[in-house]
């Protein structure tokens, strides 16, 4: 039997792919037990970008997911250690202390949220239509304060000394979504991003490191969220040039590396924020992405490989930026659909009036 030709976006297949992942991830993902929240984000965001969230999950499931996300929230009830509040990536550390008394009696001192999980949790809640009313905002803002380093970068949680640009981006999205920037020293954060910009115009994970598509996105999106994209970037023309040169057919993340589905988002979204998405070759990119699309749904990293939720979601975001019909529009710097974000914004306005 001849396989169908791979010349169209398989919308229905992608929907069932994300549904499958959401209910039972393949065993191989056991390695990701600490980042279930982030995997959940990719599945929910995937359904959202397909405009299929309401048809794919029932009202009861939606409520169940919201409750699961909130069950991962770490608050001062659970820990007194500065920087630990927010959301953890899943229940992998077991039941949380049931009360402050229980907390003080228990010997475990490593209960902590992480900033990537906190970012993913807030994004999941927004996609699921929650109003964030059960989020302990002051505790998260206090965590941000505790986790920013004197160089301006952010640590993921208090039990590490390592800061990098990915985590700084998470801190910026969290501040934006909570509409409270008091946890971030913004001039410090901008300086840190500037130190990460390389001689080639791209941005690395930390000062002195090789420019990379993912971290270039993090730097540019953080500056955009802080409202200083024009002044904050050391050399905007160089960043744009670096991004444009990452296209072979699809996009790759570093000079002299192979094209990989996800960089159509990281680099493409960066160009979009720099008002330069029109400079890329849409046809070449589309051709590449259709070669990583799988008949069973989802996208893989490279042609011929197995799909995963991460590449499946980012493959779709590229089609969104290429204005594919039937795919929801996204806000590049937030990695959320315009529709979900607008609804969230209306809900939070409603609260304050």
């Amino acid at each position: 039997m001849a396989l169908p030709t791979n010349d169209a976006l398989l919308v229905a297949k992608h929907e069932s792919y994300f549904k499958r992942c959401l209910s039972l991830l393949p065993g191989a993902f056991q390695r990701e037990d600490t980042s279930r929240m982030t995997l959940g984000f990719f599945c929910l965001a995937g359904l959202d970008i397909l405009g299929a969230l309401n048809s794919a999950i029932s009202e009861a499931e939606r409520q169940e997911y919201i409750d699961w996300v909130y069950a991962q929230q770490i608050t001062p009830e659970h820990t007194t250690m500065p920087g630990c509040c927010g959301f953890q990536g899943g229940p992998f550390t077991g039941p949380l202390p049931s009360s402050p008394q229980d907390r003080d009696q228990r010997g475990d001192t490593l209960i902590t949220a992480s900033l990537p999980s906190t970012y993913s949790a807030l994004a999941c809640l927004i996609i699921l239509g929650d109003d964030l009313s059960r989020v302990n905002r002051p505790a998260i803002i206090a965590s941000l304060k505790a986790l920013q380093t004197k160089e301006g970068g952010f640590r993921s949680h208090p039990f590490t000394n390592e800061a990098d640009l990915r985590i700084l981006y998470c801190a910026c999205v969290i501040s934006h979504l909570l509409q409270d920037w008091s946890g971030v020293d913004q001039p410090g954060a901008v300086r840190y991003i500037q130190h990460c910009q390389g001689y080639d115009g791209g941005i690395g994970l930390g000062p002195g490191q090789e420019s990379h598509g993912g971290t270039t996105y993090c730097g540019v999106a953080s500056l955009k969220l802080m409202g200083c994209l024009d002044k904050g970037l050391v050399n905007k023309a160089a960043t744009m040039r670096w991004c444009v040169h990452r296209q072979q057919q699809g996009f790759h993340g570093r000079i002299n590396k192979d094209d990989d589905t996800c960089y159509s988002f990281w680099v493409g979204a960066t160009l979009s924020m720099l008002d330069s998405y029109h400079l890329i070759d849409i046809h070449a990119q589309r051709h590449f992405l259709l070669s990583t699309q799988r008949f069973i749904g989802g996208f893989a990293k490279y042609p011929g490989e197995y799909p995963d939720p991460y590449h499946a979601y980012f493959g779709l975001t590229a089609f969104s930026m290429m204005n594919e019909s039937g795919i929801q529009e996204i806000i590049p710097e937030l990695n959320l659909t315009k529709t979900s974000y607008a609804k969230f914004f209306q809900r939070s306005m409603g609260d304050s009036s």
């Binding site: 056991q30 600490t34 169940e64 390389g198 690395g204 002299n256």
Partner: protein, 309 residues
């Protein structure tokens, strides 16, 4: 949401963390967890606590990390943990050998390169680094991580200034690698990066001369290096980067007319210089639109930018 099969080991680990047990069996358990889930940051943090509390032999820990790195070279926590151990030991002996084994598997592992940069700074190990870099570039001149490392070493991570002899040496080095593989973006980007950050008008004009003179003897097809370069290389004038560099030179001239005229002792007027360079950029970008069709819109954009500046 997203049920993931839990392991028995995870249950034991929680129990041990709860009782805050720091023991040999607790250490073994963290190892189990980390093998199951390399990104389990709590297990890594707990492991470090145990090592410190029991004052265990950290060299043995390095042996474990060596083995772990072979299977999970891209785990962030692994590299963070290694820094902590080396900091506690206060001695980086053996670390370069370890990194060689990692680079043998993947010469572009950015965790390993970041770690190497940390070692250089923390233990003042700059001597010999350029030789190390050259050795790797001889095997793979397209490895951009190595070029980045070279920039890091040459500038000592400073963006302020570079002494003239060093700048000249580095431009020359990059140029020799460009001639070896004209289609290699890494060496071109390094070349331009140096010029943009540290180059004076003299250097920019010298580059223009170098580019133009090179085409006179443009038979340097790197046929001998076919295997080394892993892909067929264009000739110098067949490389888009050659033409792009010329666009940059002329753009520089348009943006720095006063300086250029001073160097040329006033032998050209501002309007003439500007017009000449604009015409050149237009011609070069038109050529690039043909040579590099994926970036056609970008080359048009670069031409259009001229009327803005």
């Amino acid at each position: 949401m997203l049920p993931i099969i839990d392991a028995e080991a995870m249950g034991y680990f929680r129990a041990i963390m709860r009782s805050n047990e720091k023991s040999a069996r607790a250490l073994e358990l963290t190892e189990e967890i980390i093998w199951l889930n390399p990104g389990h940051y709590t297990a890594w943090a707990y492991r470090l606590d145990i090592l410190k509390a029991l004052k265990l032999d950290l060299h043995q820990e390095l042996e474990f990390l060596n083995e772990f790195a072979l299977c999970n070279p891209k785990t962030y926590q692994l590299w963070h943990h290694r820094r902590e151990i080396i900091t506690l030991l206060g001695d980086p002996q053996g670390e370069f050998e370890f990194l060689e084994s990692v680079f043998k598997e993947d010469g572009k592992n950015f965790h390993a390169w970041a770690y190497r940069q940390w070692l250089l700074v923390a233990f003042d190990l700059w001597n010999g680094e350029l030789e190390f870099i050259e050795k790797i570039l001889e095997v793979d001149v397209r490895n951009n991580s190595v070029w980045n490392q070279r920039f890091f070493v040459v500038t000592r991570a400073s963006t302020i200034a570079l002494d003239q002899p060093t700048l000249a040496r580095e431009l020359e080095f990059a140029w020799s690698k460009i001639l070896l593989a004209p289609g290699n973006e890494s060496s071109w980007v390094y070349y331009r990066g140096l010029l943009e950050q540290f180059g004076t008008t003299d250097e920019w004009l010298a580059v223009e001369a170098q580019l133009k003179n090179a085409t006179k003897e443009d038979n340097i097809t790197p046929e001998d290096n076919g295997e080394l370069l892993k892909e067929p290389q264009p000739s110098l004038t067949g490389s888009r980067f050659y033409w792009e560099m010329l666009v940059d030179v002329h753009t520089y001239k348009i943006q720095h007319t006063d300086k250029v005229i001073a160097v040329l002792n006033g032998t050209i007027t501002t309007p003439d210089l500007t017009k000449q360079s604009r015409d050149e950029v237009q011609r070069l970008c038109a050529h690039l639109e043909e040579l590099d069709p994926v970036r056609k819109a970008y080359w048009t954009y670069r031409t259009d930018q001229l009327s803005v500046t």
